[in-house]
Symmetry: C2
């Protein structure tokens, strides 16, 4: 392979990523991808045999990107509170750089369940669960861990995934979206940590009874 090979292939791949993220698989047009990559449409089929193959390559890469960012964060060695704050800071700033990513993944999976397998195969959920578990097991019963995880992800992903609609609503109330999201990096972990502290207060009160 010559150096120009990689060049073209990655130009196509980058263009395809943009178009697929913007429009989704069904609405994306091979001609649009070729135009954005500034190459002939036939080249798409030369490097990636079909639209579906090209899409799969893009989806795979993006799913990998999400997964690596997600799982890496909980590897860090720090106290749980700090880890929560670190997660939101890292995760929200990552999603801000890739604002279309979460909606793309969610929407495509919900319309083609076969993509789910591809996505799940990357995640070792019990691994992450064990990590969180060891962090908070002193404070939280085992059954509550998945709920905590879902709450954390909901609070970090949703405001980015729903960006267009949330931005619209906020602006109706005179609030700027980007500023709001910046605040979220502080507000959301505060919210979670407060909830957990309160939980501890309540369980200690129950123990005393």
């Amino acid at each position: 392979m010559t150096p120009t090979d990689k060049h073209t292939e990655s130009k196509i791949f980058d263009a395809a990523t943009e178009i697929f993220e913007e429009k989704g698989l069904a609405a994306a047009r091979m001609q649009d991808i070729a135009d954005r990559a500034k190459i002939n449409k036939a080249l798409l089929h030369y490097y990636f045999r079909s639209k579906e193959k090209l899409f799969m390559a893009v989806f795979d890469k993006l799913a990998d990107k999400v997964f690596k960012k997600f799982s890496g964060i909980f590897e860090e060695d720090m106290p749980f509170e700090e880890k929560i704050r670190y997660f939101f800071k890292e995760h929200i700033s990552f999603l801000q750089k890739n604002p279309r990513l979460p909606m793309f993944i969610l929407a495509e999976i919900s319309r083609n369940p076969r993509l789910l397998e591809k996505f799940l195969s990357k995640i070792n959920i019990s691994n992450i669960k064990t990590k969180i578990s060891s962090d908070v097991s002193a404070n939280l019963p085992e059954e509550a861990i998945p709920h905590l995880m879902v709450s954390i992800v909901s609070l970090s992903v949703f405001p980015i995934a729903a960006k267009p609609i949330l931005k619209g609503i906020l602006e109706q109330a005179g609030i700027e979206y980007n500023q709001f999201i910046k605040e979220r990096m502080q507000v959301a972990p505060d919210f979670i940590i407060s909830a957990l502290k309160q939980y501890n207060v309540e369980s200690k009160n129950n123990e005393k009874q």
Copy 2:
């Protein structure tokens, strides 16, 4: 045809709703809609002039449905804590009956910003904000209200909107999705109320300083 048969227009509308919710605008086929409604494809254009017009009619109806359910809940006259619990119970059970609705609205809006205007025109956000504000203004500063609202919506909508992927992950961990969502009706409001209580504790401590 028996007189109990639905009128053609509503048969078309119902079929279109199903297909559009399942596949989205771009992937939906007029022929599929006609097939599901068990009528000739030309009839679609007789009652609704074009695919876009039909889609707009469906989107408008569904956006209305979401909006009415959302805004109605905070009209109720009850203490704030109880209202939060009532919101999650009502909202999650509504979304469970219409599991594709949130992802449909979010995905279509994110791909066609013109739909956002249609959606926003239905919502009077400052109205809702005022209601919540009067509920919690004694306990929470004005600036925190939008964040609380976004947190509430994130925690209620995300686990339903991301159903396929969340279901997959949960099952990998041996947890059944429907049971998990049922638990959420209790866990999520607990979480929010705990966070707010803790917030009050902290602000009272700050006042003492």
